[in-house]
Assembly symmetry: D2
Homo-oligomer: 349 residues x 4
């Protein structure tokens, strides 16, 4: 067993923070030794400061950690950020400034030109933006981000098809309530209902998708020059964002081409990252799959599933794709980012 | 009070048949005097033959009717058909052959070239297909149909916009469980889940939409030469099919043009049909509406609602629309068809 | 048409207040001319001050009323209170003190010894407590209350059986989310789940039931000397509190005795109160009824339903009962109380 | 690694059968080598004969087994029965007759006087009924059963309290839809609803509880002479039956006595059975726990959870208990029974 790397979680007491704690429990490379939260919680044991809302019980080792303020001081070099957007900008920058590697799930830095917005299987080369970041910022550390949970579903589905030249995308999401955190969506709003609106989500999906599928050109990311249109909906599902996607390609492609690209897609295959799914994008043959309740948890929630690939009468092809929004779309995404960075020797500058 | 027209309901004991019975209760023009069903039920009182599944109690006058076989013999001239597709073709034709006007909710005759597929507010002129039907068939009566419940949501939303020249449509539906009848969707499949597939539904939506929005050219309907692509999903909602729609127009139009067309849309306004909604397509200003549980029942379930009209980065505009699938999308649709026919003097040949 | 009585609603902008506004729309006796709310809302139009959350649209006449502070000044003599418990005590007393009749849905005064806690069909004679209240308080007006929504389900079910001498009651409720107001229960807590706890509810049900079923003894209510034990649960249902009840009687009774008492139960029958259900406690013969989604709205939500009456191996009998929690259990309850008071000539002192 | 015991599953293609297959995957003692099903399925590969409905994918080794008819011939000595009640009686007896040990989840033999109805932690001594069975039946093998899924929740909760002399029990269950199998409960019946009736369930709970808590007297089980009254309800929950229980004891007991009995309860502790939970009945301190969605899966679904222990005003105490209905209440129950039998040397006569 190699020596584990100590990590901190910023915003450790919130819902996403709890997902980090749970997902890191038993991790072969990373060990949580620092829980950062607001002043209100600082000084308490994690078990006292936290209203634990996940299904499994709180990992006992972390439960006994004393929560600290979100200040760089004695935090480990590697910190995961699960902070609210309201506070994430300043704190993440303070950590980066002090030499920490901040692997963030917060939206604040995602669209900064010199910050990688990563989906490890889809755009691992965007890590090459880090030297640009190092040269442009005065930080001694660095910041890397993962996309919005709905963007993850879409870009995992599109990742294998990138090579065919994506030109236009129309996506309609049906998103789980856990995406809104806690207390999140009032049951009076969503029980037996659909809410055809999620504030800011469509803009995020459209922009983040263009950046993720964009090209690294030596000193910047050129966003994919594809038109992207998103319709975002909340549905009464606990976990798992599912999306109906129509897409047009530059190249002439057949269903067989696309299916082959999906089944051959495993860009991280040889790296042996602990959280990487064996089959990152699983094609399901049944005509009524994937489904959030039945498929979101495949490969510990890290695999995306895709199905119903067929011609579209308006664009070229259409399909359904799904991923787990709080695992693959949040905590698991950031942890996989950190694993990729370690395998690239990029965890420390 | 004018003398009421006696009507029959074919397939009266099933879920859709029950909706007809309920919706016709207290109707000012029509009075149910004939309930047709399978041999198994014939001879029993309606109350004994029927496992009533609707919220209100069974109308007592109909409850005492004796169920009859679905044979033309002594049925009233006007019959509504709520029959299963498996038997509807032959029985509807037998009734038409014997001089009955069959106003059908079944899918069997919808795509026949000489059978009107009506949404009264959208294509009332398609009734002019009836003389064509009369000349081409040997029937002494006639058949008129209404579309699939999901097509109704879409075409009600598009109806006001028809004049701008619809060229391409991508629609993603989120459909209620009541659309699948009873017992319909197993709870183990849909509870907290989305099923991204409804057998045959996408094809129906694509074809029926082209026919409804098509042009009557003197002796036939020329389907709208627009590309239509549908993604159909089942969601855990009891009543109300909601759709996310992207649309491209031939003409250059502004949001204001479209909004004006919607608010001015009331083609049946002067006719005073008992089941016609006062505002057939209601635009909702709130950014998170319409919603199935809160809006499907507006105007006794006969109004469609629409909202979130905004530019689409791939096609021209996008919006959300909703209608009640078992009322506006089934029984109410057929009854409004019959009301329109009466106001046009077309109920009897 | 008789002249309508002007009424006010205190706490008019909240969820329960909205239910009052909706239920009073079109009321033959009462007309809302005063909407009281917090300082924050006072001075705005009702439509601007209120985030309307009910299915039907906001009644337009009330929408244009200017919201006022909850002060007795120019409010009508009769006011309905839908205020939060945090503020209801002082404000209701201030109104009573100034000569108003306060018909309250708030819990604050329910257990006061000289305040009637009314279910009109069950204990109408408890209005005789009003002279006691008049003599004991310095108020120029008066206060009358209705019970907690879950207590209504139970006492409506027990009301017809009161004459047999109720000795012991064990009740397990399954309560709808609307009982918790808005935003109320987070969807993350209740979707596909049961929460076996509702703060303070079991105590309220136990005490209120004893008071409602108690006897007026000339100058006070002697609570029913029956042991009452409640288990209260939240379930994923929108409207309608259903309860499984076991009960022991002093007298020996048969199922037939109980069924006869239920079917003969209509103590308000001759009074012609506008909101009184024709059949206040409807016995359903089907073995799987009543059910909240299908039965809570009977008689505009004012009727209770009951079913499955059968022997209990521990106490004497057991049954299931149901009523609509926001109508029969809140706004409708208070309005029926006011109707009963008017028919007794007790609206004004 | 010891040599694994080969086992068969009768009714292997149904929902409960699938649970057996899943739960036995990776089992250290048992290895599925025989899948029995109806004639219709016999001869096909398991993967072809089975419409797999569980979340995880079908275990691949079993997927390749050829399904056989449910006949004793070449089945392993130990068979688990997941058969429908309609056919279980004859087939289970045929297997027992031929020398097989039948560990059954079917209801057919549960109430036979000489058949153990086991909850391993609660009445392991009832296995001593086997010699009685051997002497009374002509079978060369034997039959052992586990209770109905709702009875498991109740008896796990009551097991630790047995020593205080249980006299009266009133239990109200809120049961998950998975308890009804597939297709099971129509979504139109249960979505946003409660069904206060499950056919035959109340009788099963009342009788089975008395047998399980009864005393082995050398040649028979004397059922617990306690009155048991059950109210059974279906609620919109996927997995996990939760029950609200009131109980009266012969002895005077305190809450502390009961809590101590629960926390000290671990009768199988020293046996090291692979499927036995470390803490069989976990007391949860939070006032709103246990909850089905959050707690049913504890210890792989084999632990029961209990909470809210408090005085009852009618009987002595009341509490809430929960267990996973398809794991602890079905497949897992039977497998734990077989593990207990093996540890007692009773798997083979």
């Amino acid at each position: 067993m190699v020596k584990q790397i100590e990590v901190g979680v910023l915003g450790a007491t919130g819902m996403v923070g709890q997902s980090f704690i749970r997902f890191l429990e038993g991790h072969p490379w990373f060990k949580v030794t620092f829980c950062g939260a607001s002043d209100r919680s600082a000084g308490k044991k994690y078990r006292e400061a936290t209203s634990w809302r996940l299904e499994e019980s709180m990992p006992s080792r972390v439960a006994d950690l004393t929560v600290e303020e979100c200040k760089p001081g004695n935090a480990p070099k590697l910190v995961f950020s699960a902070m609210d957007a309201a506070v994430a900008t300043d704190i993440e920058r303070a950590f980066a400034d002090s030499g920490h590697t901040v692997v963030s799930n917060s939206k604040n830095h995602r669209m900064e030109a010199d910050v990688p917005l990563l989906v490890p299987e889809v755009n691992p080369d965007h890590l090459r933006l880090l030297p640009v970041q190092h040269s442009q910022r005065s930080w001694k550390g660095q910041i890397v981000t993962n996309p919005n949970c709905a963007t993850v579903s879409l870009t995992m589905g599109l990742g294998p098809l990138k090579g065919f030249g994506i030109e236009r995308i129309i996506v309609t999401t049906m998103q789980a309530i856990s995406g809104a955190g806690y207390p999140g969506v009032p049951s009076m709003d969503i029980m037996g209902n659909v809410i055809p609106f999620i504030g800011g989500e469509e803009e995020k999906m459209e922009q983040e998708t263009q950046k993720i599928l964009g090209a690294f050109t030596g000193d910047r990311i050129d966003p994919l020059p594809a038109a992207v249109s998103a319709h975002c909906n909340r549905v009464p599902v606990v976990d798992g964002h599912i999306a109906a996607v129509s897409v047009a390609f530059k190249q002439k492609v057949t269903v067989e081409d696309l299916r082959a690209a999906i089944s051959g897609f495993n860009p991280l295959g040889s790296r042996d990252l602990p959280s990487a799914p064996k089959v990152p994008v699983l094609y399901m043959e049944e005509d009524n799959r994937p489904q959030p309740r039945r498929d979101a948890l495949r490969e510990r929630g890290m695999a995306a599933t895709i199905g119903r690939l067929r011609p579209c009468k308006v664009l070229d092809y259409k399909f359904v794709c799904l991923s787990h929004n709080t695992i693959r779309g949040a905590a698991g995404a950031a942890i996989l980012n950190a694993e990729l960075m370690r395998s690239e020797g990029l965890l420390e500058r």
